[in-house]
Amino acid sequence: MRDCYIHSAVSISAQNTFSTEDFLLDVIVHNAKKIQAVYPNYKDFISPIAARRMQTGVKMGVVAANKALQVAKLNEPDAIITGTGMGCIADTEKFLNSIIDNNETYLTPTSFIQSTHNTIGAQIALGLKCNNYNNTYTHGSLSFESALIDAQLLLQQQEAKHVLVGGIDELGVEFVDYVQMIEANESKGICVPFSEGAAFTVLSSEKKENAIKLQDIITISEASKEELILKLEDFLTLNNMDTKAIDAIILGNNGDVYDIYYEHIVTSLFSNVARIEYKHLSGEFYTASAFAFWLGTNVLQKQYIPKEVLKNSIQNKSIKTLLLYNQFKGKDHSFILLKI
């Protein structure tokens, strides 16, 4: 089986992450409950005629994907795989509201056509004129991870050499407000802002100098805190590692009651490693873990953990192996191992 190397990682998020030069140099402190991403200049990547039917998620996805290909110096990937929890929610809201407003008549085609979850992957392929494998995963907070697993399998089985993988979610207009209302009624609901973003990576079976390796990934739909520890230990053993091999752990804490899962993992296994958190910067959305993937790749490449994400005083001189752990509402756990 072939290894998976990361040839590029690009992120559009609620921080200034789109520039590949800066690595969380000027962090934006968000106090609002709902925060938009810092949008790049779309016109640099998409013609106005093509962009006019695209909502935020599609535009962010197309631009992040194109930049990831540019950085990896790749013209046409062998596969395009996207993950999105809510898909094109803005256009979905638009056409559903239009049906109600017009008493179930006069359904205009544009928002309907653009509202499907695979619109982003399709628009990337259309722009590249790429007829290769194209797939979209919509599995809640495991959407990006599912896309990664698919890419990993394609590369390991030698069905592809270079795969473009991304996680995208947009805020939309209405639905997110209802989710926030529900969270506000919880005794300890999500405390970080709700947000949006797109993060893309080119994974390749070709080893490049200084390329980061996607060592492995595992997803677990449901497990108790104790079961999770056992599964994580098995996962590390499977990769010929133990907990001592981990130099830093990136956690998806969002301030809700289910953060106990992160605490349990850290106190049980990783009390002496650098602890990184990011959702106070990126906000929460179904594919926020794609931002963590971008963050982890940059930490390994630059051998530096920005102070805004480091949550303890442990800063290793050398960071060789990173573990990413994310879960949502105590379910849909994922572990991703990145290695230099």
Partner: protein, 87 residues
């Protein structure tokens, strides 16, 4: 409604409904071709225009060949609507 006002209204509706963010009403001449070399509209836009005709003016366009002629320009479209709504 006078035809001149109807033309302006149609331009506003087309810009809004078809997300022609780069255009303003003054950028669209009454006799510009809506499809092809003019505004560059396409088949999805044609469907949007059919919905505008039906929803806003009560005109159902069912013959594709008629559509080709009706959507030639703002002038032709406004005249077509005026003929059917000013009776």
């Amino acid at each position: 409604m006078p035809v001149k006002e109807l033309r302006e209204e149609l331009k506003e509706k087309i810009i809004a409904q078809l997300n022609l963010e780069e255009f303003s009403v003054s950028d669209i001449d009454d006799d510009d071709a809506l499809f092809g070399d003019g505004l560059g509209l396409d088949s999805i836009d044609a469907l949007e225009l059919i919905v505008i005709l039906d929803k806003d003016y009560g005109i159902k366009l069912t013959d594709p060949n008629e559509g080709k002629e009706v959507f030639k320009s703002i002038t032709v479209l406004a005249d077509y609507i005026a003929e059917r709504t000013n009776k």
